[in-house]
């Protein structure tokens, strides 16, 4: 079992690399493989590559592909720790109010200046998370049951504010709606750089906590008796997952379903232990988002919101796994 888990993790890494290469050759503008290889060669040796092909490949497609992988990993790992800490299979990274907070920020951004959207989305997402945490603190510890309810209440409150602003005030409804549905259309190397940096700071922390997370699956009392400082683990893990989710949302909008479904798919294959899950869940997230986004940007009718595709791909995969397990 353990050996096959190693194998599966390696397989996922290879699958990701393979998907990246395939995605690079697919897009609304058809570029034959030979042209791609030839241009990579010309570009690498500085021999006057074709401007159109180079721009499309290296400044439009590749940064977007990299962004899909990073965002998929962020959502996958955040969803995993949220589900573990809340002991709730329906947990997703937006549970603490991230998405509705970001929606308010974005709505205000579209009202003031569209270029402020990412900054305001991040600020308001963290505000919503902060309020949820303040409400659910008791005896210096985060009460997870209260945090779910606080998160839901805060989400509804912020959604109402966002809807009000969008319905009455925002002139360009299209921009807001596309943002709310989420999408990776604006990807640049700058976005990739900052999100990669954030992921590199936060991911090792999650890996570091993987044993504590395993123990917490048995329940808070048992975890405490085994010497785990549950209050500290919960607070740190929840805060950093909310932080990184807010960052992701501020760049790509609200992409649903990945954070919910990737940990479940991972669990069905490698089991409950975080030892592998902490690597497998984000890699599954990366692959689902990468495939979905490639489809979303390549449809002949013009781009469609990626959230539609993630649900379309993720849901059947999970249903299949649930069905198969039930029979065994």
């Amino acid at each position: 079992m353990r050996f096959s888990n190693y194998l599966f993790t390696v397989f996922l890494v290879l699958l990701t690399v393979f998907n990246i290469l395939v995605s690079l050759s697919i897009g609304p503008v058809h570029i034959p493989i030979q042209a791609i290889l030839k241009n990579i060669y010309l570009y690498a040796f500085n021999k006057g590559p074709d401007w159109t092909i180079t721009t499309i490949l290296f400044y439009i497609r590749l940064p977007r592909i990299v962004l899909a992988v990073i965002i998929g990993m962020i959502l996958g790992v955040s969803g995993l720790v949220i589900q573990t800490i809340f002991k709730n299979p329906l947990g997703d990274p937006y549970l603490t109010g991230v998405s509705s907070g970001a929606a308010v920020g974005a709505a205000i951004g579209f009202l003031v200046s569209p270029f402020l959207v990412p900054v305001l989305a991040f600020v308001f997402a963290m505000t919503a998370v902060g309020i949820s945490f303040l409400i659910s603190r008791s005896d210096g510890e985060v009460n997870t049951e209260m945090l779910i309810l606080a998160g839901v209440s805060v989400s509804f409150l912020f959604s109402a504010v966002a809807s009000y602003i969008i319905y009455l005030k925002v002139a360009n409804l299209r921009g807001v709606i596309f943002w709310l549905l989420g999408g990776l259309y604006g990807a640049t190397w700058t976005d990739d750089f900052w999100l990669f940096l954030a992921l590199m700071v936060i991911f090792p922390l999650m890996v570091y906590f993987r044993r504590e997370l395993d123990i917490m699956l048995m329940g808070d009392e048992q975890a405490k008796s085994l010497g785990v400082n549950t209050a500290r683990v919960k607070t740190v893990v929840l805060l950093i997952s909310s932080l990184i989710t807010s960052l992701a949302v501020s760049v790509v909008g609200i992409i649903g379903f990945i954070g919910l479904v990737s940990p479940h798919i991972g669990r069905k294959i490698v089991g409950e232990s975080h030892r592998f899950l902490v690597f497998v869940a984000p890699l599954i997230g990366a692959n689902i988002l990468l495939v979905s986004d490639t489809i979303a940007r390549s449809t002949p009718q013009g781009e469609i919101p990626v959230g539609i595709i993630t649900s379309f791909i993720g849901a059947p995969v999970l249903i299949y796994l649930l069905y198969r397990r039930r029979k065994i």
């Binding site: 400044y59 439009i60 569209p114 299209r174």
Partner: protein, 312 residues
């Protein structure tokens, strides 16, 4: 004596009454028609009782068409978005900032006819129809559709000659523009309704019809739907010679393209390299987005931007 007097009064009353009756009959409209059935842009057959004396407009382009055909005085209410002609802003408003009209306010105006676009939900239109208030929905898909809508409006409001005159005026302005630009090769154009993702006007949109009429070659011609998203890849591959940016996009000048975080891409696009960029102000955006009599200004504006030499 008494009986004679009563008979006299009866005779006088009968004479006066029949006189009134004859007078009233001659005052009636000459046509036998007391109602007319027309088809609107949704394909609905709408029966309108004549004569139409009180009209409520639920969209600026409807208001503009009414004034243009000379039927503006029939309007009793319009929307808070109305801006042309200037006196249209003085009327009471039934559709406010959210764009959706209040049925109560419309009914309160006791209209004989309500004009709408598809912004109004079908529930609102059904509600008004159920109250026996006829609603005409105008949603011109192209310029010749504006002509038919104006003629319909002229027929219903009794301003047929005004409508004919306005349609002829529009036709002559447009053919004048097309004659001027006939000898120039077509300029390719990217129309941006939103910068990121790039929302554009697809082949079935009204805006595409205006662009094509003004001699532009819309690079979104192969996409489907009225307002698709065009990928940046496609823009790079098509390398448009000109770019038009709508108002309200947050793009106010060249710096969005030349110093934004995607400037490496934009710098090499022909339109940006050669400074062939047109950013609409509010009025210009209204010309483009409100199909009606002002559409001719949109055609002129786009043609002048694409072929400045032709208008020197």
């Amino acid at each position: 004596m008494n009986l004679k007097f009563i008979a006299l009064i009866i005779v006088v009353v009968v004479i006066i009454a029949s006189g009134f009756y004859v007078y009233a009959e001659t005052q009636k409209p000459k046509s036998q028609q007391s109602s007319i059935t027309v088809v609107d842009d949704l394909g609905r057959s709408v029966n309108v009782s004549l004569p139409v004396k009180r009209v409520v407009s639920m969209d600026p382009s409807d208001t503009q068409m009414m004034y243009a055909i000379g039927a503006g005085s029939l309007l009793v209410a319009d929307t808070s978005f109305d801006w042309w002609p200037a006196n249209s802003t003085l009327l009471p408003h039934v559709a406010m900032d959210s764009g959706v009209a209040s049925v109560e306010q419309v009914v309160n105006m006791t209209p004989d006819l309500v004009l709408a676009t598809t912004i109004q939900t079908s529930q609102i239109i059904d509600q008004l129809q159920n109250l026996s208030i006829p609603v005409l929905v105008f949603e011109p898909q192209n310029i010749s559709n504006i002509y038919t809508d104006m003629m319909t409006l002229g027929k219903v409001t009794g301003h047929t000659s005004g409508a004919t005159a306005e349609v002829n005026h529009m036709k002559s302005v447009i053919s004048n523009v097309q004659t001027k630009i006939a000898n120039y090769s077509k300029e390719s154009l990217l129309y941006m309704m939103w910068p990121n993702p790039i929302y554009t006007a697809g082949p079935t949109s009204f805006i595409d019809n205006v662009i094509t009429t003004a001699g532009g070659a819309n690079i979104a011609e192969n996409l489907s739907g009225p307002y698709p998203v065009i990928s940046l890849e496609q823009v790079v591959a098509d390398n448009p010679q000109t770019i038009i940016v709508d108002n309200n996009t947050g793009v106010s000048n060249m710096t969005y393209f030349t110093s934004g975080n995607q400037s490496q891409i934009w710098d090499n696009i022909s339109a940006i390299k050669n400074d062939r960029l047109l950013i609409f102000n509010v009025t210009e955006s209204n010309w483009m987005n409100e199909p009606g009599p002002l559409t001719i200004y949109a055609v002129q504006m786009v043609a002048q931007f694409l072929y400045p030499q032709a208008f020197e």
